[in-house]
């Protein structure tokens, strides 16, 4: 069976697109071949800056032929009908077969679709794939109309038979005719050469200074760079994103270890790292003893007669120019904060618009400061410190360094806060108040940081909700989903007991907007809990106990036009409690007792609900132990009494694990009770008493969580 080799050779493909493109090429071509009736043993896609390649092993030589039988008109049908059938089936009259059927003699045609040779199919599939390739951005060039990521120069497409002989697949796309040749490294091995199959291709490319496999290039870079750093008594700073990117910028990686001028070594390491990575794609090399960044690694795309000396000198010069800018900014900024303090540095925020309906950045800072002072006691931070941190947390936006490197916002705030003499967690809060930036970003735990982070995000949310700039569909230009998720994670992970409802209500006048925002927050909580492995129905069950409001309250408020729902107690909007309860219930349900208790509860609830519907009453009169007939019934009475007290206490102290344990203690008596006792007894007294008993069970369990919401 033949092997197929394809290479699409172009001008430089953006590094970030290469891996995906190699994968798309493999997937689309193999899908197309299989759909056309071919099979194959294995396929692998590759990418370098100038080529996408695909190697397919063990492709079938042709697609199988297909036979189809088609029933035609009766023999005595009009000529016209028979002619029509012949045309449709594409056969001649003498090829028809006559069969006897109940209604008389009928024509049958056998249509054979012959198999097609692999080259024909490959040509068709490849052209289709090239013309519809899913590049994130593609372009035209010259006078042609073909689209590719950058101009496409040549197509290599060969089938290699078992004897090792290569046959070019005849095909052409927009004037580019497929052949069996390619090019090596742009500078180190110019000129075309022909190949006979994948092994030959990969080997000749390597001789022509091209490493085909991106993984191999990355491994080579990492290995060489680590070795050179180690030899200098230093260590390479790991950065997999940068490694993948750099591997996509070179076909022949040559690792060079360079010097950073001594005058820049005192810059903050993050400044060095950012400047080197963002602008120059350099790796940082660190002194393991001091943690200082002392050198850099750059990866060139070629070997040179002077062993990279010219290249390294050039790179060092560019870096020095970049770093002297950074140093200039750093020193100016330090002078500013020493002379005028961070508040002085941030004075210009009054002239920067945050949003035309929400005022300037200075207005925003003032709001965050007030909010931080207000919520500090709930977090456990000192109000004065929280307010101080909030007042200066955005000042670094006015620094020259952040003007040049916006990605250093916050971090520079920390350095400048230290330089200005702030202490007690204020510098850290300047850095950490932006966090968490996403679902996997670390959540701050220092109390001042948590306070300012919450204040910042709550101000953003209430501000944009108040001016009706909420996220819609995929549009979320102010990253409000991220802010809400941040609030949730800050609250849940730091066990913050904050009355979000009151905080929000104090800032937004319209009750329905307040509820809309609370609901938005509750959806983010669901998201967090689900990511923790808590089932959807478990979350529902916990929102519907004391914390039910978030969903239903809005409905009620709108339906009843009764904003007094807003006056519900603090705990009902306490997202932390909902989360705790959900986690406890989730682990409880994973135990055998939890599972059994749930079944028992459902059985009790079903019987009770049916009876209530039938009788049209609610059995909430309380059961009387004196009507207990069976010992299991008495035991259940006792167990309920004990559990009720425990659950009440546990709810009081918010110890949900204890509440679940108390529920678990009902499992055995409940099982025994169902085993021994018939609820629908002939005696109406007994029946009513037992139904009342079931009602108590339901009531008690619902205090822990709304178990009726649970599935299974």
């Amino acid at each position: 069976m033949p092997d197929l080799l394809i290479e699409l050779f172009s001008e430089e493909i953006p590094a970030r697109m290469q891996a995906r493109a190699a994968d798309d090429l493999r997937k689309r071509v193999t899908d197309g071949l299989v759909e056309a009736g071919l099979t194959y043993a294995g396929a692998a896609g590759f990418a370098t800056p100038r080529r996408l390649a695909l190697a397919i092993e063990g492709l079938t030589g042709e697609s199988p032929s297909l036979r189809e039988e088609r029933k035609g008109p009766r023999v005595d049908a009009p000529e016209k009908a028979i002619d029509g059938f012949l045309r449709g089936a594409g056969v001649s009259r003498d090829a028809l077969e006559v069969r006897d059927e109940k209604k008389g003699q009928v024509y049958y045609a056998t249509i054979t679709k012959p198999g097609r040779p692999a080259p024909e199919i490959v040509a068709e599939v490849l052209e289709q794939v090239i013309r519809t390739f899913p590049w994130p951005k593609s372009m035209r060039w010259g006078a042609g109309s073909l689209r590719w990521v950058r101009p496409l120069h040549s197509i290599l497409c060969i089938l290699t038979d078992e004897a090792g002989e290569a046959h070019v697949v005849p095909m052409e796309v927009d004037g580019i005719r497929a052949g069996d040749t390619t090019e090596g490294h742009r500078f180190m091995a110019p000129g075309r050469f022909s190949v006979t199959g994948f092994e030959d291709y990969a080997a000749k490319l390597k001789r022509a200074h091209v490493i085909l496999d991106a993984g191999e290039r990355a491994a080579h870079i990492w290995h060489e760079a680590s070795n050179q750093a180690f030899a200098a008594g230093l260590e390479l700073v790991e950065d997999n994103g940068l490694l993948a990117e750099v591997a996509g910028l070179v076909e022949w990686p040559v690792v060079l270890l360079g010097q950073i001028d001594a005058e820049f070594l005192d810059l903050p390491p993050e400044v060095l790292q950012t400047s080197m990575k963002e602008h120059q794609k350099f790796f940082s090399v660190r002194n393991p003893k001091t943690g200082r960044i002392e050198r850099f690694v750059t990866v060139a795309n070629r070997e040179t007669a002077d062993h990279g000396a010219t290249i390294l000198a050039g790179n060092q010069k560019v870096l020095s120019a970049r770093l002297s800018d950074a140093k200039f900014f750093w020193e100016n900024d330090l002078r500013t904060v020493r002379d005028k303090g961070l508040e002085g540095m941030g004075a210009g925020l009054a002239q920067v618009t945050f949003h035309n309906k929400l005022g300037s950045q200075a207005d925003r800072v003032a709001r965050i400061e007030a909010l931080a002072r207000e919520i500090a006691p709930m977090v456990g931070a000192k109000p004065d410190l929280a307010a101080e941190a909030a007042r200066v947390c955005k000042a670094d936006l006015q620094s020259e360094m952040v003007g040049e490197f916006p990605e250093l916002q916050g971090l520079m705030g920390r350095y400048y806060a230290q330089a200005a003499g702030h202490d007690d967690g204020v510098p850290e809060a300047c850095e950490e108040h932006y966090s968490p930036l996403g679902p996997s970003d670390e959540v701050p735990s220092r109390l001042v940081s948590v306070t300012v982070a919450l204040a910042d995000k709550i101000d953003t949310l209430t501000g944009f909700w108040a001016i009706d700039e909420k996220p819609t569909g995929s549009k979320d230009p102010y990253a409000l989903r991220r802010a809400a998720l941040g609030v949730i994670r800050l609250v849940v992970e730091n066990e913050v007991r904050i009355n979000l409802h009151k905080v929000i209500q104090d800032r937004i006048a319209a009750p329905h907007v307040v509820h809309d925002l609370l609901q938005f927050l509750s959806r983010r909580l669901e998201q967090v809990l689900r990511a923790d492995g808590v089932r959807y129905d478990v979350i529902e069950a916990c929102f519907n106990t004391r914390g039910k409001v978030l969903k239903d309250a809005q409905k009620e408020a709108l339906e009843l036009d009764a904003p007094d729902i807003l006056d519900r107690p603090f705990g009902e909007y306490d997202l932390f409690l909902v989360a705790e309860r959900a986690k406890a219930l989730s682990s409880f349900l994973k135990t055998e007792e939890g599972e059994n208790l749930l079944q028992g509860f459902k059985r009790a609830n079903n019987i009770l609900t049916q009876a209530e519907e039938k009788d049209g009453v609610e059995y909430s009169f309380g059961a009387d132990p004196k009507f207990a007939e069976d010992p299991t019934e008495t035991a259940l009475f006792d167990a309920l009494q004990a559990a009720e007290a425990k659950i009440a206490t546990a709810n009081e102290t918010e110890d949900f694990t204890a509440a679940m344990a108390a529920m678990a203690s009902l499992r055995a008596p409940l099982d025994d009770f169902f085993e021994a006792v018939q609820i629908n007894s002939e005696s109406q007294v007994l029946r009513r008493n037992r139904l009342n008993l079931l009602f108590t069970i339901r009531k008690i369990c619902l205090q822990a969580a709304d178990l009726t919401r649970l599935e299974g």
Partner: protein, 309 residues
């Protein structure tokens, strides 16, 4: 005549070598456009000539102004007035990358010793309603050129596609000549009887224009000029195509485009004066783009714009 081998010795020698290289490759060597522009792309030889179906090949130096980049001549490589070298070939030839690398060789950058890389960089000009895909070209980690395949200009699809090369001349020359501060760069031959450095030619103007751009330019006058340029552009394009005097059809795409260039530069000055807020900024850019688009619409109805004869 500039020497064509060995290392160049001055700023002007690098320019002369580029001129002779691209002349040799068949480009029409044009002169700078006689108006204030932010980049070589604004020259009608690029903006307008990249439109329509007629083949085109031009190269030129374009003095460019970016008022916000002024540093009173003190920053080693930031200037409010600098030179770009611009090449535009339509349709883009298949060997444009090789032609470009040849031009680096012509100015003394030997690809055998240096690391030359094409790094993704998509180009967009919101004021011209133009975009293209290409790269910034790196030489040993320094950006030495922009390389772009124009896809759209003035809201029109480019067909055929033009290949555009832009060299930042000061930066490139400083690199080739090994100079650390732009003002120290030899402008003419260092052995000339009157040897001039870049600073001898431009230090004073950098100071004067930095002060003017940042603090003195009269913003009321500028705002008025912006409105006037905008109105004039509309008025020019509002004229009927048929010229009553000659009886010919004369669409005045170029005079209208001059007004667009003017509006664009005035906007840059206003920006440097710090009187444009973030929200207003978008609105101004949109107004300039609207002018560019109208001029492009007009140009494609002319002969040079490829109107079917």
């Amino acid at each position: 005549m500039a020497e064509t081998t060995g290392k160049p010795r001055s700023f002007q020698e690098i320019i002369l070598r580029l001129q002779s290289y691209w002349a040799d490759k068949g480009c029409a060597i044009m002169q700078p456009y006689d108006m204030e522009v932010g980049a070589g792309t604004f020259h009608p030889a690029t903006t307008l000539r990249s439109l329509g179906s007629k083949p085109w090949a031009a190269a030129y130096v374009q003095p460019s102004r970016r008022p916000t980049d002024g540093r009173y001549g003190e920053n080693p490589n930031r200037l409010q007035h600098y030179y770009q070298y611009q090449v535009l070939i339509k349709p883009s030839p298949p060997d444009l990358q090789d032609l470009y690398l040849g031009s680096l060789k012509a100015i003394g950058i030997d690809a055998e010793l240096h690391d030359i890389r094409f790094v993704e960089d998509d180009w967009e000009s919101p004021t011209l309603g133009a975009w293209g895909l290409g790269w910034e070209v790196w030489c040993d980690g320094m950006e030495v050129s922009q390389f772009t395949y124009f896809q759209q200009v003035g809201g029109h699809d480019c067909a055929p596609v033009s290949g555009e090369l832009t060299y930042g001349l000061e930066r490139l020359a400083m690199y080739v000549l090994g100079i650390d501060h732009v003002m120290d760069m030899p402008f003419n031959d260092p052995d000339a009887p009157i040897a001039l450095k870049y600073g001898d030619v431009f230090r004073q103007t950098e100071q004067e224009y930095s002060r003017f751009n940042f603090d003195v330019a009269d913003t009321d006058v500028l705002l008025r000029h912006f409105e006037e340029a905008e109105a004039e552009c509309d008025a020019i394009l509002g004229q009927p195509a048929d010229d009553p005097k000659t009886g010919h059809s004369i669409v005045m795409a170029h005079p209208a485009y001059d007004q667009c260039i003017k509006a664009s530069h005035i906007f840059n000055l206003l920006d440097a004066r710090g009187v444009i807020s973030v929200t207003e900024r978008q609105a101004y850019i949109g107004r300039v783009r609207a002018l560019a688009k109208k001029c492009a619409d007009a140009f494609v109805t002319t002969d040079a714009g490829g109107r079917a004869a």
